[in-house]
Amino acid sequence: MYAFEFHRPSSVADAIAALKAASDGKLMAGGQTLIPTLKQRLAQPSDVIDLGGIKELHGIRQDGNSLVIGAMAKHGEVAGSDLVKSVIPGLHELAGLIGDPQVRNRGTIGGSLANSDPAADYPAAVLALNATIKTDRRSIAADDYFTGLFQTALADDELITAISFPRPEACGYAKFRNPASRYAIVGVMVARTGGGVRVAVTGAGPCAFRLPDFERALAGSFSADALAGLSVSPSGLNSDMHASAEYRAHLVRVMAQRAVKAVR
């Protein structure tokens, strides 16, 4: 780890000010990605701005027909929340499948979405549930948020404050874990929403994406069988020692079917 200046602001405004004042500042949520990166000397920020002291970023609440999760909500809080469980059970379940207890007790939804790891779980939920990413300056629709490998619509100095999930009629998540890291090799969330069926995939591509033909098939008949004849092209999908692109393409269909079966 290289030396840096450490800040612990107590408001979003102070955090943004510290970020703007720094020559190369980095926000820190739970540090689950940032700290290993620093320890391996893969990044050399001039300033690290810890978001842990900003009250407005914490907490989970219901706002009308939406669930609003503060950026600093830890995965373990979401997985342990009765509110989340009653409003969006599929999201509750997804959070409990992230990493291991240690990771869930530090990692945050804001950090996960800002980082946009291709194998992270939340992106599938954000996209399938048509969530809105709220930042210090605007709201970003899920469909506009994920732009590429570790790429999002966020500006360099933009801070996620909360994520707003409209309550779906029902949703389900199925995850095929990387046996080593336990990230998603393929994760699929299927949701029946007011705006129709949405199917979102994480792990398989450079960033989370939707499957329009799966959505159409499920709109016709919301059943696992409706997906049986569908396939996904391996072209452009991730390939590594754990899963070839062909295998991932196959798993997308299998996990989509299992997600439909898991819908609650």
């Binding site: 780890m1 391996q40 000397r41 095929f176 990387n178 046996p179 080593a180 890291s181 990230y183 590594d240 020692m241 754990h242 899963a243 070839s244 295998y247 196959h250 798993l251 299998v254």
Partner: protein, 781 residues
């Protein structure tokens, strides 16, 4: 049976310390004036070093020294670490054994090879300085594949080793075996890969080197599996007499063979400590040091033939293995695939003719050496895969084929075709116990139930035999301390096994001393003239024996003192092991052993050089032991995803006399899980450029608690005849047994698709691909 004696499941006394965080490991040691070392490693798998410029690094803040290979060579020292194994090729010529280089001078040969050692006031200062070392690498082509390495046109890892062939070794009767196979009614042929593994103990390697300029002496604190073994290599590297080297080992958090070796970093730390006259500490980081420099395990490609006569009895076995040694030949490395594997290559069967050839190849990868089981898992995996495949080909039940070929209990002692003499064992009895415990006959209904859930169920057996091994002598010293406790000095080194409990049980059993008054003293190379360390499942057999013999000396001496105390004849004194007291026969006069020991200090000794009741003894092991057992696995495979789940696992082992059933169960659990790791999850993968693809825990998959079922573990006690306690040893057994049980079960689950072979690790991807190739998966409902 005394309360804390042999045969009792006493809780591990060391665990109080370990699980409350008060264990003291090497990295917990901090000495006054300590400096920190950091190794600059090669990012290239194979390159010439055109130049190394350390001037900027030397000038960096806090830097005390930047040591390169040139410095070591200029200092007059050999820049390599030894290999202890004499090797001869099958044609009688000498093997070529390029030794592990401490710091590279002109060439790097694997990613992580050692280029410079930077010592600074803090670790971060050392790391900062490391970035200032300028190394010019001229990349060279890379040989990384085990099977390809000896092929024409492959780059040479060492110019002096043609075809990357370090050795070409052979044992056995080739003409007789070939003839037997030619005349066989059936020959089963198999090619398999024994995947490369990274040991990954919880505690990474570490050392603190301390130099005493006044006495010109070096103390190395390090995590070892027995520090005695390191004294000579360190002395040789440092150019110091062996009496000036002391190796101290504090608590050790797992070794698995990997920590038995002296490593380049330890040599560097010792060198730097002498140069700076300050203690120098080095601790491995997991991915950036451990994954690149810890010796790895296994990595064989093997082709084998097993011939049967018309009665399905084995007539001959021919085996050819390519064993990847990595870029250098490490301490024990050539012995693992050859002599160590050979010991149990025929398994528990009467294999009349055997020939075993091993080509040790060099590649641009991290060196390979002993890893839990060390050669024996590779051998048993081969034999047990062969037996299952032969059973399928012959249309015979795998248990029956085994039974027909078992060496029988009546045939013991039995001289095997591999040259070992099995002293005892009843393989049929152990197998039958396992079959019964597993509900083997209820398999069909379980399989049907799995099929209803869209899953394929398979079952697999592995009957393993182990040959324990290591230094054939071991010493123990029993010391009666002033504070009323008893110290037992040993030359083995617990690295998690529970010696501090088991050894005490042996002593309590012999001397009847209170359990909580005994302390096991290990980890000091200066405390005994020799010590064989821990490895090869030898410790309880070797050190337990020595403790037992030393106890007898204590009793003899005790009788002498008791006779004086009671003014009786020594012949009239008897010792009660249960009570721990000396009595005058036929009277009520008696004295406890600890009380007598305290008095004995002031009494005239029975002989010159004897101090009170303290005693020592050396056990000489002329024949090792042969733990064996039958392990059964049942798996379920999800054909849609290729995921294998182990549903049931049953281990029935013959470890001879069991000193502590709970410790034994713990060793079996751990070993089995390690073998499951090899079978399903773990794989050190190099790409064609010699880069380690599975370079961290993000990709290198260790087995975890949720990967293993609750196991059923039982023992059948058939006492060993080769030592007075009847012990066989259990440390490696699980890892020897489980890979074949699991893979055989997977093959069984897929057999109706025409699958006859599955290589390890049987990852979901690999299984899915196999099913795809057969293109007839049974559909989930």
């Amino acid at each position: 049976m005394t309360k804390f004696g042999v045969g009792q499941s006493i809780r591990r006394v060391e665990d109080q310390r370990f699980i409350t965080g008060s264990g003291r490991y090497t990295d917990d040691i901090n000495l006054a004036g300590q400096a920190y070392g950091y190794v600059l490693r090669s990012p290239e798998a194979h390159a010439r070093i055109a130049s190394i410029d350390v001037s900027a690094a030397k000038a960096a803040p806090g830097v005390l020294a930047v040591i390169t290979g040139q410095d070591i060579v200029a200092g007059g020292s050999g820049n390599t670490l030894p290999c202890l194994i004499p090797m001869e090729n099958r044609d009688g010529s000498a093997a070529k054994l390029p030794l592990r280089v401490v710091l590279c001078t002109d060439r790097v040969r694997h990613v992580g090879d050692h280029v410079a050692f930077i010592v600074a006031e803090s670790l971060s200062a050392a790391k900062d300085a490391a970035e200032l070392v300028q190394v010019d690498y001229d990349s060279l082509p890379v040989a990384a594949d085990t099977e390809q390495a000896e092929q024409a046109g492959q780059p040479l890892v060492h110019d002096a080793v043609p075809a990357n062939l370090s050795f070409d070794w052979e044992f056995g009767k080739r003409p007789a075996t070939e003839q037997a196979l030619a005349g066989a009614a059936h020959v089963t042929t198999l090619k398999l890969v024994n995947n490369r593994l990274i040991a990954n103990p919880m505690e990474p390697r570490a050392c603190v080197a301390e130099y005493d300029a006044g006495g010109d002496a070096l103390t190395l604190h390090a995590c070892t599996q027995g520090g005695h073994l390191w004294v000579d290599p360190v002395a040789a590297f440092m150019g110091m007499p062996r009496e000036k080297i002391r190796v101290l080992t504090p608590d050790v958090g797992g070794g698995f063979g990997m920590k038995a070796m002296i490593y380049p970093e330890y040599a560097m730390a010792a060198w730097a400590a002498r140069q700076l006259k300050r203690p120098v500490k080095w601790t491995a980081e997991r991915s950036s040091d451990g994954f690149l420099s810890d010796v790895m395990g296994r990595d064989h490609v093997t082709v084998a033939k097993l011939g049967f006569d018309a009665d399905h009895k084995i007539v001959g076995m021919e085996v050819m293995t390519w064993a990847n040694m990595g870029a250098y030949i490490n301490l024990f490395a050539p012995f693992i695939p050859t002599g160590a594997a050979l010991k149990v290559l025929p398994g528990v069967y009467d294999v009349k003719n055997l020939v075993y050839r091993v080509k040790g190849v060099l590649t641009n990868t991290t060196p390979v050496d002993a890893y839990r089981g060390a050669g024996r898992p590779e051998a048993i995996y081969l034999m047990e895969r062969l037996m299952d495949q032969a059973a399928r080909e012959l249309g015979q039940d795998p248990t029956e084929l085994r039974r027909r070929n078992f060496i029988t209990a009546a045939a013991m002692p039995f001289q095997t075709a591999a040259g070992e003499r099995y002293d005892s064992g009843d393989f049929a009895k152990v197998m039958d116990t396992a079959l019964e415990a597993s509900g083997w006959s209820g398999f069909a209904s379980r399989k049907a139930a799995s099929e209803r859930r869209g899953l394929r169920r398979g079952r697999g057996m592995s009957y393993y035999i182990e040959s324990t091994m290591g230094d054939p002598q071991e010493m123990a010293r029993i010391l009666f301390m002033e504070d009323g406790t008893v110290g037992v000095v040993v030359g083995t080194q617990s690295n998690g096994q529970g010696h501090e409990t088991a050894y005490v049980q042996v002593l309590v059993d012999r001397l009847g001393v209170p359990f909580d008054k005994v302390k096991i003293l290990q980890g000091d190379s200066a405390s005994l003239p020799f010590g064989g360390g821990t490895g090869g499942s030898r410790s309880l057999t070797a050190a337990g024996w020595a403790i037992r013999d030393a106890s007898e000396v204590v009793i003899e001496r005790g009788k002498h003192y008791a006779a004086r105390e009671f003014e009786a004849a020594a012949a009239d004194i008897e010792f009660s092991r249960a009570e721990g007291s000396f009595k005058v026969v036929g009277t009520d006069r008696q004295i406890g052993i600890l009380e007598l020991a305290a008095k004995a200090r002031a009494m005239p000794a029975p002989a010159e050089g004897v101090a009170g009741m303290d005693a020592e003894a050396t056990a000489k092991i002329d024949q090792w032991t042969f733990p064996n057992g039958c392990h059964l696995a049942e798996v379920e495979i999800d054909p849609e995803t290729g995921v294998t789940t182990i549903d049931r696992y049953i281990a029935v082992d013959d470890f001879g006399v069991v000193v502590n059933p709970m410790l034994v169960a713990g060793q079996v659990h751990g070993g089995v899980v390690q073998g499951i790791g090899q079978a399903l999850y773990e794989h050190a993968v190099y790409d064609e450029f010699g880069q380690l693809v599975s370079g961290s825990f993000m990709d290198y998959c260790m087995p975890r608690a949720d990967n293993v079922p609750a196991m059923e573990v039982r023992t059948v006690e058939i006492p060993c005849k080769n030592n007075p306690m009847g012990i066989k040893g259990c440390g490696e057994a699980g890892s020897v047994a489980s890979p074949a049980a699991v893979i055989n079960a997977i093959i069984d689950a897929l057999a109706d698709l025409g699958v006859t072979a599955v290589d390890m690790p049987a990852t979901p991807l690999r299984i899915w691909q196999l099913i795809q190739e057969r293109r007839q998966p049974i559909a989930a409902e």
